[in-house]
Amino acid sequence: MDQVAIQRALTRIAHEILEKNRGTDQLAIVGIHTRGVYLAQRLVAAIERVEGVSVPSGEIDITLYRDDVGRSRARPEVRGTTIPFCVDDLRIVLVDDVLYTGRTVRAALDALIDFGRPRAIQLAVLVDRGHRELPIRADYVGKNLPTARDEHVYVRLSERDGVDEVVIE
């Protein structure tokens, strides 16, 4: 995917979110660190362009909720969670770059639910590469990318990587 394809996918997802939730009422967007946060910001901007409403947004770091803490030598950096609104009764769209095993999303669900009881949690991803290990699916998908397990999917975003692209290597 190149810059144009990413932008089109996000614009479409923004419309789908509005359609499914019938507008922006009680809607909030939460990005999963690191690249999900930038995608969430872009979705908030896209929704604002369509509806003229800036929906509340937050960011979530799932490091402390991982199911592999202490199993590898690497201890991932903790980057902090910011949910500057009460999640109770909101419809929350979780945003991540790549959906793979589903373990990140499982951790994010636990993290989010520690903040309260949302009315609903939905999932938006830029890329779904398959190989799920948990019963999790996305509500909004930018692109389905069939991959082999030994391939790597790299999502690069201009905010962090200077370029917008999705590549398989």
Partner: protein, 328 residues
């Protein structure tokens, strides 16, 4: 990044390690603001707090930090343990480690006690204050508090005032502040100013008003009466007359000066109540940040895979090594 097995002191830490620890700690602060103040990270792990000296703040702070990470925290105080029956520190520690804690938090009146345990037992050790040597988690929480108000530590002038001779807090803070690029000024009576501090490139001042002139931060130290500070002073009253931080003495400091104290305070001795409870005081903020600092350290140290270091394998004193898989 921070890849050490133990956290024994500020001495020897690089600037990058300190900055990493501080930014990690800052990420943990939010958890204590939540309604449900708990994350599942250290579920199924045990943290032992082994305290050979009285402590309210530090022990409670470590206990709360462990519990907010879902670890089980066990507190052992020397007076109520087999220490009273004459068991040595090393034997006590080895027995505790045989029960497989994920980390051992140690406070001891002897300088170097946590370092000894780190070498001889197979468990990450955190120094919660050793004798007159270091109190490194206090220095981290102090740095975190300063950063929250001043942004950067580099370029600030910080006065540390009081009983510098006996203070492990001062030692750790001097090391942290100088590593991070602050200018440090030590202020106190000559009998309580250890001469070796001059080797660390700090200013030394024996007059309170001159010492506070133009400073961004004032750290008051507790006059340690239990460490016979009185032998170094004509009287507590005379000390207070010259070195108690009063609103009047503070007039020389910068307008937005921060007032810090590691606690417990001797009100009217090293710090005047008007200052301790005044608008510039961040003393309770320090306590709040202490929990975040200790959560960060427990996260970094207690999630390590169990793996004996080569040194311990050579010494042959460690408990039998478990498979990493046994943790699964």
């Amino acid at each position: 990044m921070f890849h050490r097995r133990h956290f024994l002191g500020i001495e020897g830490l690089t600037k990058d390690e300190l900055l990493f620890l501080l930014s990690t700690a800052e990420s943990f602060r939010e958890i204590s603001e939540r309604e449900v103040k708990k994350v599942p990270t250290l579920r199924g792990k045990t943290i032992i707090n082994l305290f050979y000296e009285p402590s309210t703040r530090t022990r409670t702070s470590f206990e709360i930090a462990a519990k907010r990470l879902s670890a089980d925290a066990i507190n052992i105080t020397a007076a109520a343990s087999s220490v009273a029956k004459g068991e040595t520190l090393l034997d006590t520690a080895r027995n505790l480690v045989a029960m497989r804690p994920a980390a051992l938090v140690v406070r001891h009146p002897c300088s170097g006690a946590p370092h000894l345990l780190a070498r001889l037992v197979d468990c990450p050790v955190i120094n919660a204050g050793d004798g007159m040597h270091e109190h490194p988690t206090q220095a981290l929480l102090d740095m975190m508090t300063i950063r929250a108000y001043k942004g950067e530590i580099a370029g600030l002038t910080v006065a540390i005032v009081g009983d510098l001779l006996h203070s492990r807090v001062a030692r750790s803070n001097v090391l942290a502040l100088t590593t991070l690029g602050a200018q440090v000024r030590l202020v106190g009576p000559p009998t309580l100013l250890p001469p070796e501090f001059r080797l660390w490139g700090v200013e030394v001042c024996t007059d309170l008003r001159r010492g506070l002139a133009g400073v961004d931060v004032v750290m008051a130290l507790r006059l340690q009466r239990e460490r016979q500070a009185r032998n170094f002073l004509p009287s507590i009253e005379e000390y207070a007359r010259h070195f108690c931080i009063t609103p009047d003495a503070l007039a020389a400091a910068k307008d937005d000066v921060l007032i810090m104290h590691p606690g417990p305070m001797n009100r009217g001795v090293e710090i005047d109540s008007q200052v301790a409870d005044g608008p510039y005081s961040v003393i309770l903020e320090q306590v709040t940040n202490g929990v975040a600092v200790r959560m960060a350290l427990l996260y970094l140290l207690a999630t390590q895979e169990r793996e004996a270091t080569e040194e311990q394998a050579e010494v042959g004193l460690h408990a039998p090594r478990r498979h990493a898989g046994a943790l699964a």
